[in-house]
């Protein structure tokens, strides 16, 4: 049974030293999430109980670290229904998407097309811009509908025979719309294109099954799903990973090499993990995946939908709010307080112990679409409550230009 007050006890960041709830409304979960105690402890155990490098198994400790790292990979594979050989540990979504773009270079030639959208995060567009420049391919944008959504209908219209790569977010980071990745993959595959999915905002919040989606590559971050910073996953279909060039070479990525420069790469996925891997973080991330599965994505989605609906109703009823995504599929509300610059409103909210993000949220092309320079983004997670949403809405009522300036006086 989902009990948010019990769940909040799992998160040290939500509590003060005496274990009571802090005076804090944390609504910046799309940027990063808080970590439950067991994740912190799991990562710490690597540093306090089995700290050693992996693949140096001549001593017991190293073997223990080996086991923990391999087991973390298996846990993450189960988490998204992949094979363990298809899980590459990365530093996060950004590295995963850069590895994808780098690795697919040999599959592109001049005149080929990479399809994306104006709603993408910088990390899922800049690597593709560069790849296009390097190969003579070009980036084309699938038009968003009037709400800012990527629809299957528009995708069909944008798809053509020169499209080789489709790079889109499953859930966008400013408006929180869910794209129908399964249908997009089926259509793209018919057209001979592969699909790279930015899962940074979807994997933490809903059940993602890579086999059911049939996506070719999917990147996500640990720290947005209750896991540590500095770790993420690039999932790739095994046959595709086999064909991809690793972005980095070094220790662990090679089987043999000699002074002539002959090189035999390690097997997939090891060849993509050159250098000492983030062992403690991988262990922490596996614990985070287990934690989310124990709560259950059905319950997580239900709580987040309830929060979204509740806050959206409040915002819609307020005259001073310009609300950009009342129909969002995620617990993300993007808006502006009329006549007040987004950062000023966010600073005011901060003075009321409310944490939100203002700006363009790394989606610099989307603000052109929305017709504003910046927005405020309130992003909630399953540990947030209706009371927090109410406190937030109440604080917004007091968000006048006078009050925004007074915090500086």
């Amino acid at each position: 049974m989902f009990d948010v007050s019990k769940i909040r006890q799992d998160f040290p960041m939500l509590l003060d030293e005496s274990g009571r709830e802090r005076e804090l409304v944390y609504f910046d979960n799309s940027a990063t999430s808080f970590k439950p105690r067991e994740v912190i402890e799991a990562e710490m155990a690597y540093y306090t109980r089995f700290s050693a490098n992996i693949h140096r198994g001549d001593y017991a400790l190293s073997y223990e670290a080996d086991q923990a790292y391999d087991s973390a990979r298996q846990t993450l594979a189960r988490f998204i229904n992949a094979d363990e050989r298809e899980i590459v540990f990365t530093s996060g979504t950004t590295q995963g998407l850069n590895m994808a773009a780098y690795g697919l270079k040999s599959m592109l030639k001049e005149g080929d097309v990479i399809l994306s959208t104006l709603a993408e995060h910088a990390s899922n567009i800049l690597p593709w811009f560069r790849l296009a420049e390097q190969t003579g391919a070009k980036v084309e944008f699938i038009p968003l509908d009037e709400q800012g959504r990527l629809t299957v209908e528009n995708f069909k219209k944008a798809l053509h025979e020169r499209v080789r790569i489709v790079a889109v977010a499953q859930v966008t980071n400013v408006l929180g719309y869910l794209a129908d990745i399964k249908t997009i993959c089926a259509l793209a595959h018919q057209a001979g294109a592969i699909v790279v999915v930015d899962g940074a905002q979807s994997v933490p919040h809903r059940k993602v099954d890579v086999r059911a989606l049939d996506c070719d590559l999917l990147a996500f971050s640990g720290h947005k799903m209750c896991g540590p910073t500095g770790i993420g996953v690039l999932y790739g279909k095994y046959e595709l990973l086999e064909k991809m060039e690793p972005m980095m070479l070094g220790g662990g990525a090679n089987k043999r090499f000699n002074s002539h420069g002959d090189l035999i790469l390690s097997r997939v996925p090891d060849r993509f993990e050159a250098g000492t891997v983030p062992i403690g973080q991988a262990v922490g991330l596996a614990k985070a995946a287990e934690y989310l599965q124990r709560i259950g994505f059905d319950a997580i989605e239900k709580q987040e939908q309830m929060l979204q609906k509740h806050l959206a109703e409040k915002l819609k009823a307020m005259d001073n709010i310009e609300f950009y995504n009342p129909e969002s599929d995620s617990a993300i509300c993007s808006f502006n307080v009329k006549g007040i610059f987004a950062q000023d409103a966010a600073s005011y909210l901060s003075s009321r112990n409310i944490a939100v993000r203002s700006g363009n949220h790394c989606a610099k092309m989307l603000v052109e679409f929305l017709g504003t320079d910046a927005t405020i983004r309130a992003s909630m997670y399953f540990y947030n409550t209706l009371e927090e949403a109410d406190r937030f809405a109440q604080a917004l009522q007091g968000c006048t230009l006078e009050n925004c300036i007074d915090i500086f006086l």
Binding site: I340, F341, A342, Q343, D344, S347, S350, S358, G359, N360, D373, A374, L401, E402, C404, I405, D406, I407, F408, L409
Partner: protein, 147 residues
């Protein structure tokens, strides 16, 4: 100093006034003007500052762009303060302003309305907003000096 500038209500009005009706707010297309683009990496403040400096006198300073209350108001106040001053006087004003933001001693008389920014440092993440335009002019003055 003008006693009124010690009253928070007045200070608030100064900021609001310069935010809602920024002075010298539009760029001119004139080769006499030197121009600098100031884009913050940490927020979306993105402004251009222009200055016409002739014979050691700051004849005009202008700005435009996307900016929050604090950066708009602080830059607007700056343009009024330094307009018509010698480069040397302008430099002293800038120096005092940065000292104020930094929590050091400063000459209130010289800064006049700009004293409304004296507590911005309380919100450390907003110091950049209060100095973005001022840093732009500082760089323009330095460039002018080199030539």
């Amino acid at each position: 100093m003008n006693k009124l500038l010690e009253d928070p209500i007045v200070l608030r009005e100064v900021i609001m006034d310069h935010y809602e009706y920024p002075r010298n707010h539009s760029l001119v297309d004139d080769p006499k003007y030197k121009r600098i683009h100031m884009a913050s990496e940490s927020c979306i403040d993105d402004i251009h500052v222009q200055a016409d400096i002739e014979d050691g006198i700051v004849k005009d300073v202008r700005f435009d762009g996307v900016a929050c209350t604090i950066s708009t108001a602080s830059t607007s106040i700056m343009t009024q303060l330094v307009k018509g001053k010698s480069v040397e006087e302008a430099r002293v004003i800038l120096d005092n302003y940065f000292r104020m933001i930094d929590g050091q001693d400063y000459d209130e008389e010289l800064l006049d309305e700009a004293v409304c920014m004296k507590n911005v440092g309380k919100q450390a993440n907003r110091i950049k907003c209060a100095t973005i335009g001022w840093n732009g002019l500082k760089q323009l003055l330095e460039e002018g000096e080199k030539q």
